[in-house]
Each structure stands twice: as structure tokens, then as C-alpha cells.
Amino acid sequence: MEQKTSLLKDVVIRFSGDSGDGMQLTGTLFSETLALGGNVISTFPDYPAEIRAPQGTVAGVSGFQVHFGSVGVNHPGDLCDVLVAMNPAALKANVRFIKPDATIIVDADSVTADNLAKASFQTSDPISELNLEGRNIIFARITTMTREALADVELDIKSKTKCKNMFALGICLYITERDTAHAHEYINNKFGKKNPTVAAANNSVIEAGYNYAANNHLNHSSYAVEPAGLPKGRYRTLNGNVATAWGLIAASHAAGLKLFCGSYPITPATVILEELAKHKSLGVTTVQAEDEIAGICTAIGAAFAGRLAVTTTSGPGLSLKSEALGLAVMAELPLVVVDVQRGGPSTGLPTKTEQSDLMQALYGRNGESPVVVMAATSPGDCFYSAFMAAKIAVERMVPVVLLTDGFIANSSEAWAIPQFSDMAKICPPFATADNTPFMPYQRDDQTLARKWATPGMAGLEHRVGGLEKDCATGNISYDPANHQRMVDLRKAKIDAVADIIPEQDVVGASDAQTLVIGWGGTQGHIRSAVEQLVDEGASVAHCHIKYLNPLPKNLDQIFARYKKLIVCELNSGQLATYLQGQFPQYTFLGMGKVQGQPFTIAELVEFIKTQI
């Protein structure tokens, strides 16, 4: 392959078309090729909530954005360098995501009066109607060329036309100076045995697209980037929901416990239940419960029966689970509750992202009811966060709420595959036969965890429940002093978790004056914004909090080093309010965004600049 232009640091490409055009597959295949070539990638699928929105309309547009580069790619990118638009609606839906110097590849065959009308264009010239004249527009007759490439193939015209996404893939592989080997391998694995004709057709079309780009000198707009220099090793792509499921499975094996998940389907958390349901061979039991409450209650029952118990949900579901979560607090049973946050309140924005369940996770229960709260910071981190959530729950006999969000749940990144033998062990505090007479609420001096006696252990029969317990026997107690003591103990037990969580780290200028604080799934965006500001000479650093209750012990020392503390989060200031309550000696400035969308780097940079 001829080297055409200087290599770029990073590039964003967005594939966009009708829901049925295969954009998710095209994007995934393209991203995998990039990752194989050693680029760091971050992807984000953006599809409609409706399953089959009307064809050709803006509502029916499905998109897949991939950001790839040599270093520092930890978010899917604000605006795209290349837009592939398979129809006029895709053009219209994405106009706000296009850079001023972007290349736009349009399927010229799709620009028909009918499609223009469906996408509500007023004129026959979508480019000028959308004010896209300055862009590098390539009208390629993708549909026609796809059919021509398959002229001799024994397939009906509809099946041939379906291959047009592979033509677009071929073009993109050419302009990013990638070869087509991985795409062919994938197609052969997927269709080769079942339907060799379809496999051959897709392979031909990939080459046709690639050759079209080469023959038409699309190298004028080359988007090659240099490899990232990732450490040697085995990698895969992984989205946050699958990573969460796998982290829980790994934890169950590290603990020697069978995994139990009781959940009710809810967007955007459902994939975790779906993924866990596949893995019965690894000792996983899933119950699709009749409602959210049954989801957590079956999990609590399984925890009582000695399983690593999990329930997965999103914001409205967490609301429904509140009372039962209090029962887990009272019964002091290990439980992991995963909340994949979405736009709220009420049904809100089910397919869009937000970080607005922090207060609900911290405080959304009756009574004094502390739980451990933590938040995953990236798709791959969901694996490690889920593992750690399970470790804390089991070893400390507490419920843990793990917050992820719709963005990291659906995004994927290249992920270095760990070895199970390198992962931490999890040690359940099981009672032993000599713990008789069994005192269910007797505690370990350090951890304050009670012992776990599970049905089937002879001689340790005991009763637990939601009524206040005597601090040793577990019998019902209305004694005022005992209640105070138990409330204090339950809090102290959560606080003691601070002993095993890592110290908070800070990234950025060492003598910085301003600290930008974030939590959860915004890590990539905030990190990029701060890096950009540091590159520009600004005196800023970034502190991204994963453990929210208890907070890391060294946070106070960190905050004390900075003149200005800015909290950036996708809500109206929940972490800022929480930190202000915990650390009244400092002032926390808040930047909140509640639009159902991730931060853009540009808006973060702009806001932080106004504050420093």
C-alpha cells in the first residue's frame, strides 16, 4: 500500500444509515480492524429507542462512532472527521456531529426524491440545505456499485443490496490505510459455513469498495493514524455491560461461590442479565423476575442461601428496589446492585446517559441505611469494578451499589485480557461448626462483618429479618440503646471499607492550582479535556473518584493542595453537594450537564478555562 499522507494522532469516523443498513456491524468490524492494527479505540453506538422506526426517516437513523488513535483515546470523540451517510436522513441526523473540515461519504443512489421527502428535506440539494458546502463531500453510487460487483453472483437483488454496508467498510479501510484481511476473516467465520454465497458476496463487495476508493484517489483525504504502541499482550473489544457481567462471574469463581442474578429487563441494563444467562456452564443462575422488586428479593434470598447474589437495573428500577435494599442492610447480607444510570426522572430518557442516581444510591432508603457506593469509570473498568463490588460485598457482608451508565455500558474499547490466576482472591466470612451457639450478629473486630451461616450448615440454624436485631443474638430487640448501637455499627462497618479501597490518585500538572473532580463514566472525557488544557499550559489536574461511599481516606489531603475545586458531572450537582457536605472547609464549584449526552471535550475545556 502506498503511503499517502502524514499520520494523524487520532480520527473519528461515524457510520450512519437506516436501522436496517447494518451500521452497527460495519462499525464493529471496522473498529476491530483498527484495534488489531494497534490503535487505541473507543466506540459508541447511537441507535433509536424504537426497534423498527420508519425506514428512511431521521428517527430511524442508526449510528456507530469510533474514535481511534495512537495515544490518549479514552472517549468516542465529540465531532467526526469522516461521516458515512447511507441515506439523506443519516446526513440530516448527524449534521451537528460533523467537523468543519470533515469528509462526508454519501450513497449517491440514496438521494432520491422519495428519500429526501422522508427525511423532510425541502429541496433536492441536501448539502446546501444543511450548509455543508465547505466539507469534502464524496457522492459515491454505493448501491449501484455494490450490485454491479455482484452481477455474476446467484443472489436476489435484495440480498445483493444488503451488502452495501461492506462497500462503505471497504472505502473506510482504504482511507485509513488498513488492509481487508480481518474483515474477510470475520465474514468467513460468520457466513462461510452456513451460507458460502453470502460470504463470497460480502467479501467481493469489501474489495469493490476498497478498489473504488483506491481508483478514485480518495487518498486526498487519508485518515491513517500511527499505531498506539499498546503493551504486548492479548486484547479484545468489550462493552461495559458485558464487562460488568464478566467481572461478576470472575468474582464468583474467585470467591468459590455460585453466582445468582435476579433481574427484570430494563434499558440500558438488560444486556448484563442477557450475558449472565448465557453462562450456565460457569455456575451462573439467572432468574428473570416478575418485577424489579422480585429481582432484588430473589437475589437477597440467594444471598441468604449462600450465593454471590446480584441484581441489575437502571434508575427507575433502583427506586423500586429501595425497600428491599434496606432489608439487605438490616440482614447484613452480601449483595451487589448494579445501576446502569439513564436519563431521569421517571421513565426519562431510557437510551440516553446521565449520572443522576448518585443521591438515590447514597441515600434513597428509609431509615439510617448506609451502603457501599462505587462507580465504574470506563467500559473495561466495569469488569474490575464489578469484581471489586462483589469482593467488598462478600468479605464485608454488605450491599454494594455499583453505578455505571448508559454511555460506558454501550461503549467499547480495546481491553487487555487479564489472567484469572492474577486476580485477587475473595474470602467469604463463613461461620464454622464450632461457632455454636451461633450468634448471627457477632462481628469481626476489624471489619465489623458478621459471620455467614448458610442453610445446610448443621447446628448454625438461626433467624434474621428486617426488624431491629439484638447486637449479638439477632433476636428482635426494641431496646433504645441497642438500636443506637446497631445504627452506629452498620455505619462503622461501611466506613471500615475505606481500609481496603485504593488511595485516590490525581493526574495532571504536579503544581496545579485547579483540581477538576469527576466520578464514574465521565473519566475519559474529563481526562482528555484536562490533558488538552495541560498541553496548552494551564495549571490543572484531574481527580476521578470511583469509591463514593466510603470515600478514599486521602481525599482531604488532596483537596487541600488546590486553590480551586471544580466538579464536572452529568447531573445538576449531586457529587458537588455530597462533597460539600463531607468537606465543608472547601468550596466546590459545579459544572453539571443534563442533556442525556456525554460531555464533549470542547465544552469541558471551555468551562474549565472560564474558572481558572
Binding site: G233, K280, I293, A294, T298, A303, R307, I417, L460
Partner: protein
């Protein structure tokens, strides 16, 4: 037969029983503690494998009086928690103590879905037709027109019949007993334990304080019960009355009470109870019989073997997937699908 030789005392906890004197729950506790030694022998279940789960209400305090593993959960959710216990560890014998409010009002959803799944739980439904622990409000089984604190002019709601609801929700086992019939209750519980699938045992219990004598018309004493209840036994004629001279026949599509020797009816005309038939028609009619038109049916009304038992299917499916799956370890999982090497 196992050889545990448990006594009822072995299942009594050290906690003081705190129900009101005269409450029907005392008698049911007595029956359960008599039934468990027999169940332990028959099904080879050691004491540590019995688990009692309850919700909220007077009857849900039951579990504190049992010397077994037990969990007093939250209002309405006993069956959901029990579903987690049983599917988490299908090896356990799981019992649910719940009331008419707990399982048919706030917990109605879990009740019908447990029956639909036919998970192997034994549900003892204490029906006193009133909310006792909150001090006297009408429940979903209160008779129409009942005057209570929240229905000072009488309820304007139709009650549920737990038997109809159970059978309508695909239930495979339904039995009814009254608190005073301690040995009948015990026998029914043993049969419920042997049934694979969800068993619902409705125990008609009296609340002395807030709904006294709600079942008295047909259940007040032995003589009344003889005349106004019918004890159904599988394979036996549906006879009742002190002299066993009354019985049930089908008159068209309805049940009819007849007296043997009157109107030309003989013993041969009387229906024979088949608790095992899958057909729900007669079971539903028997469960629905109300005083005074009919005798109230006691005993095991429905006990249908079903191939669809949730916890058994769960274990079978896990075993077959384990045998056929390529993924046998966490490392297999992490390296499954598309993986690539760098360097």
C-alpha cells in the same frame, strides 16, 4: 426412610410465642412442628435444610418460633425471597409463611408468578380475612360488606378466593384446612412437602381481636364442621355430614348437594375426588364452594404432578449447558470470541 428421629421440640426455637391468646396461628405452628419430623423422615431432609421465609403480618412472625434457618423479610416479598433461596440452592426444603394481605394484596404479583413457574415452595397462607398487625383493616379476602376501620360503612370490594386464584394461576397443589384441625393440617403439610412444585395450603385462622368468628359459621366446632365442611380425600367419595349421608353430585355444569336416599340419589351417584387430574374445572368449583350454599371444602383439593418444575428444570438446563459448552473456566470466557495479539 431416613432415621433422624426428630421430635416436634427439635423444631421449636427459644423465642417466646407472642400471638394473642386464642389466635389460630398457635394451632398452625403446632401442626408444622408435628409435620416436620415426619417430612424429615419421608423425604430425607435434615433440619439444617429446612428454610422458613415470611413476609410481614401477624402470621409472618411464625418463623421466629422455628428452630430452623429462617428469614423474616418485608411486606409481600416472602415468596420472591423464597424463590431466590430455592433457585439459589434447589437442595433446600423451602417454606413460606404468609397472610392474606401479605400474599394476595401487596405480594399478589409474586404469588401468581411462583405458581406459574411451579417452583417447589410450600406456601402456608394464613387467611383470617383481616389485617391484624395494623389493627383491623379489611383485606383482599374480607367478605363483601365487612365493616372495618377502613370500611366503616362496609367494604365495596369483592374478595379473592385463594383456591380459585391458585388454580387460575396454573397452581398444581391447593389444600385448605382450619386452625382447629391440628392433625388434618399436619397431614396436609406432609402431602404438600411431597408435591414437586408450588404447594399452597390455605389455613383458615381466626383473629379473636379484629375479625372474630369469621369462619365460625362452618368451622366453629366439630359438629358444625361435620355439617358444613367436606373433607376431600383423593380416591374417596365426596361425602359429608355427621352421618356421612350428604354428598356432592354434578348437576349439569354445577355442583349440587344431595342427601343419599333422598330424591333417588344413591352412593353411586356421589362424585369421587380425583386430586391428581390436570383438568381444573372440578377443582375450581370445589375450591369455590361457599357456606351456606355448599359445604366448605377442606383437604387436598388439587395435587397434580407436573413435568414443569422450575428448580428441577433449572438444574437440568445447567447440567446440559455445562456438558456442551466450550466455556468451562473464567479464562475460557475472557478469551472467547474475537481476540487479538499485539506485539
Amino acid at each position: 426412610m431416613a432415621n433422624y428421629n426428630y421430635k416436634p421440640e427439635d423444631f421449636k426455637s427459644n423465642q417466646q410465642v407472642k400471638w394473642c391468646a386464642g389466635c389460630g396461628d398457635h394451632a398452625v405452628l403446632n401442626s408444622v412442628q408435628r409435620a416436620l419430623p415426619e417430612i424429615a423422615e419421608k423425604l430425607d431432609i435434615p433440619r439444617e435444610k429446612f428454610v422458613f421465609i415470611s413476609g410481614i403480618g401477624c402470621s409472618s412472625r411464625f418463623i421466629y418460633y422455628m428452630n430452623t434457618y429462617a428469614f423474616h423479610t418485608i411486606h409481600g416479598r416472602a415468596i420472591a425471597v423464597a424463590t431466590g433461596v430455592k433457585s439459589g440452592n434447589p437442595d433446600l426444603s423451602v417454606w413460606v409463611c404468609t397472610g392474606d394481605g401479605d400474599s394476595l394484596a401487596i405480594g399478589g404479583n409474586h404469588f401468581i408468578h411462583a405458581l406459574r413457574r411451579n417452583i417447589d415452595l410450600n406456601v402456608i397462607l394464613f387467611n383470617n380475612e383481616i389485617y391484624g398487625l395494623t389493627k383491623g383493616q379489611y383485606s383482599p379476602t374480607s367478605k363483601y360488606g365487612l365493616v372495618t376501620k377502613t370500611s366503616p360503612y362496609g367494604t365495596i370490594e369483592q374478595p379473592f378466593n385463594p383456591g380459585e386464584l391458585t388454580i387460575g394461576a396454573k397452581g398444581t397443589f391447593f389444600a385448605r384446612t382450619v386452625d382447629a384441625e391440628v392433625m388434618l393440617t399436619k397431614d396436609i403439610l406432609v402431602e404438600a412437602a411431597q408435591h414437586r412444585g408450588t404447594s399452597v395450603v390455605e389455613a383458615l385462622v381466626n383473629c379473636m381481636i379484629f375479625n372474630n368468628k369469621t369462619h365460625a359459621n362452618f368451622a366453629a366446632d366439630k359438629a358444625t364442621r361435620a355439617e358444613h365442611t367436606i373433607l376431600l380425600r383423593h380416591g374417596e367419595k365426596m361425602l359429608f355430614g355427621a352421618n356421612k349421608d350428604k354428598g356432592l353430585v354434578l348437576d349439569g355444569l354445577k355442583l349440587k348437594v344431595v342427601t343419599i336416599g333422598e330424591d333417588g340419589y344413591t352412593l353411586d351417584d356421589i362424585l369421587t375426588h380425583d386430586a391428581t387430574t390436570e383438568d381444573t374445572t372440578l377443582h375450581t368449583m370445589l375450591a369455590a364452594m361457599k357456606y351456606p350454599e355448599y359445604p366448605v371444602a377442606l383437604g387436598v383439593i388439587r395435587n397434580t404432578p407436573s413435568p414443569f418444575v422450575y428448580d428441577q428444570s433449572l438444574v437440568c438446563q445447567q447440567q446440559s449447558v455445562k456438558e456442551s459448552s466450550k466455556i468451562q473456566s473464567v479464562d475460557d470466557l475472557l478469551n472467547s470470541g474475537e481476540v487479538f495479539e499485539i506485539g
